[in-house]
């Protein structure tokens, strides 16, 4: 071995990384070479210096300070922007698992299919302010289901029979809905996958866009049902308000007093279901590609059959079970319904991921949950139901958690904490 070869191996020699034969060769060479001996001494000196310094720094203890700061800031952030954290969590979980992607698609379809089996007596058009809502070719707006601080904002681009929809708590999901052909295209913009869902059948009958829904309500309100609310500042702008009240619904429209363009629309259906629309843009240019039903370039089409049609009571009970067992750790939730479902979806996705079940099983859980909630949606706007399960333990046969009156039935169906069901006469309903 010559000096050059030896020098190349000296660091590895100091580190004890050489094979026996190499080590021997280096040692042989060192015996007779003072230059390499000096080099070795230098290297050993530097090695020791690194080790000593490393040990000194390793004694420091940042753990307590860092953890305190993390927990403290986490708490502050949770309070201030729990939505952002939720969004972050859901994005991460969705990204990791195809199971959760499908669960998310199912959740999104729930919102897409929102209770539109809503029938009112036909009547006449009522005011100037509704003209843009009725006639705009395209409408871009934000939609909030439930109370405004629910933190979940849906952004919609409405263009005739096509809708593009995104949701703030599932930032990588985009839905494109074709209401004419009753099809839905779900895009996972992070995983670059696309899924088609068939929303025909029972779901198709109910499925229309929020805009069409509002159009339907306002065109059917009778002249005498509309009241003026006067002027008020809405979202920082002067606005004039109207409220149209039907038997079971109310639509409030706040509009710009000069242009008559709506600024904000609030709808209340039955007692339990409400939504708000705002940040309107009427007749904006909407690029056709935004609402195209084709799988975009670079996306993989997933061959999952999403069947959400014809949900029944059995599906609903299954979703209650999932809610208590998986989401609530054995306890039924504070509230059920579309708003609660959308809020809980990230948690369900997380829990299912943590259960480490097969893709098939995970998909099934997501579907079952969504399907059962679809059944509940058919009741949601009608008001002949009551949920009393908050805090009840799964398996508790002594407590009723839900009752409803099926269409045309004289008796009520009552569901108990053990998920058994009984037919009950109106006078015997649990108080």
């Amino acid at each position: 071995m010559n000096c050059e070869e030896s020098k190349e191996l000296l660091v590895a020699y100091v580190e004890g990384l050489l094979e026996d034969s190499e080590q021997q060769a280096v040692e042989e060479h060192l015996k007779d070479c003072s230059a390499c001996q000096a080099e070795l001494q230098e290297l050993t000196g530097l090695h020791d210096r690194l080790v000593t310094n490393g040990k000194a720094l390793a004694q420091s203890n940042l753990e307590k300070d860092v953890m305190n700061q993390v927990i403290r800031e986490q708490n502050v952030r949770l309070k201030v922007t729990s939505r952002a954290t939720e969004a972050l969590k859901i994005r991460r979980t969705i990204m990791r698992s195809p199971v959760t992607r499908i669960a998310a698609v199912a959740a999104v379809i729930i919102v897409a299919a929102i209770g539109i089996n809503y029938i009112m007596a036909p009547s006449v058009t009522w005011a100037q302010v509704i003209e843009p809502i009725l006639n705009a070719r395209t409408i871009v707006f934000d939609l909030i289901i439930g109370s405004e601080d629910s933190g979940m904002v849906q952004h919609e681009i409405f263009a005739g029979s096509r809708i593009r929809r995104t949701m703030s708590n599932m930032p990588n999901m985009t839905m494109i809905i074709d209401t004419d052909n009753e099809k839905l295209l779900a895009l996972d913009t992070e995983g670059k996958t696309a899924t088609y869902a068939d929303i025909s059948g029972e779901l198709g009958d109910r499925h229309r866009s929020f805009i069409k829904f509002v159009r339907q309500i306002i065109t059917q309100l009778q002249e005498g049902q509309v009241k003026e609310l006067g002027e008020k500042v809405i979202d920082g702008r002067k606005a004039i308000g109207f409220v149209g009240k039907g038997q079971n619904e109310a639509v409030t429209i706040w509009a710009d007093p000069e242009t008559a363009l709506p600024i904000r629309i609030e709808a209340q259906l039955g007692q339990e279901f409400a939504f708000t629309m705002k940040n309107f843009e009427f007749d904006a240019d909407v690029d056709e590609s935004l609402v195209s039903m084709d799988v975009p370039d670079g996306y993989t089409l997933e061959k999952t059959n999403i069947d959400l049609g014809n949900s029944n009571e059995e599906d609903f009970i299954e979703s209650l079970r999932i809610w208590a067992e998986i989401i609530g750790d054995g306890t039924f939730p504070e509230a059920i319904g579309t708003e609660a479902t959308m809020k809980q979806m990230p948690l369900l996705v997380q829990k299912v991921t943590a259960m480490q079940v097969s893709e098939e099983k995970g998909t099934q859980i997501g579907m079952s949950f969504a399907k059962g909630m679809l059944f509940h949606q058919t009741l949601e706007t009608q008001g002949q139901w009551k949920y009393t399960g908050a805090g009840v333990k799964l398996g508790d046969a002594s407590k009723a958690i839900f009752w409803y009156q099926p269409q045309g039935s004289a008796t009520y169906r009552v569901i108990y904490g053990d998920l058994s069901v009984k037919d009950v006469a109106p006078e015997d309903l649990p108080k």
């Binding site: 190349e8 000296l10 660091v11 590895a12 580190e15 990384l17 230098e42 290297l43 530097l46 090695h47 210096r49 690194l50 080790v51 000593t52 310094n53 490393g54 000194a56 720094l57 390793a58 420091s60 203890n61 940042l62 753990e63 300070d65 860092v66 953890m67 700061q69 993390v70 927990i71 800031e73 986490q74 952030r77 972050l88 969590k89 994005r91 991460r92 979980t93 990791r96 997380q350 991921t353 943590a354």
Partner: protein, 180 residues
């Protein structure tokens, strides 16, 4: 080394902030070594390391590959250091530190500032290997795994890093002589 980085990163993202402590334990020494040379004092390095660790925690959602946590964390620490440097006119700082460091006054100053600043000047690939080996307690095999390179490459990188460190330390010495 119990669980790998990816495991803890995912635990944190799944809502178990407490598990972040294992990553802090694993990399605090590494960060300090990386920062001490850049910032000039132990206290400053600790402050910046803490900031980097907290920042990393709250940005974990942006980490695309959980198993590259270390490289990513190091990048954050480098950014923090840059921000601190800008604030504090580091050049002047260094001179002051250098003149003090001969008295080696214990707590405030790094024990071997010359070495740390030499490390701080290493190109990233070499810096990572040195940091993990001597400040993160990794064996060369573990480094190979962590940085996803063959063991032979780790050895060569280490060897080259030694050469660069020696050169840099040599230059520092000469500069001091010249200054005096």
């Amino acid at each position: 080394m119990s669980e790998n980085d990816k495991y803890y990163v995912e635990r944190c993202l799944d809502g178990h902030p407490d598990d972040y402590r294992y990553l802090v334990r694993r990399y605090q020494g590494v960060l300090l070594a990386n920062l001490a040379g850049k910032l000039g004092s132990r206290d400053r390095a600790e402050e910046a390391a803490q900031e980097a660790l907290v920042r990393a925690y709250f940005n974990m959602g942006k980490l695309r590959k959980p198993d590259s946590f270390f490289s990513w964390l190091l990048g954050i620490a480098d950014n923090v250091a840059k921000e601190h440097e800008r604030k504090e006119q580091i050049q002047r700082q260094r001179e002051i530190v250098r003149s003090f460091s001969e008295e080696s006054s214990g707590t405030e100053l790094s024990q071997d500032y010359a070495l740390e600043s030499a490390i701080a000047e290493l190109p990233e690939a070499y810096r990572k290997v040195i940091l993990l080996r001597y400040y993160g307690g990794h064996s060369c095999n573990q480094i190979a795994e962590q940085l996803d390179m063959p063991l032979g490459t780790v050895t060569k990188t280490l060897s080259r890093a030694y050469a660069m460190l020696r050169e840099s330390l040599q230059q520092q010495k000469q500069a001091e002589v010249y200054e005096v």
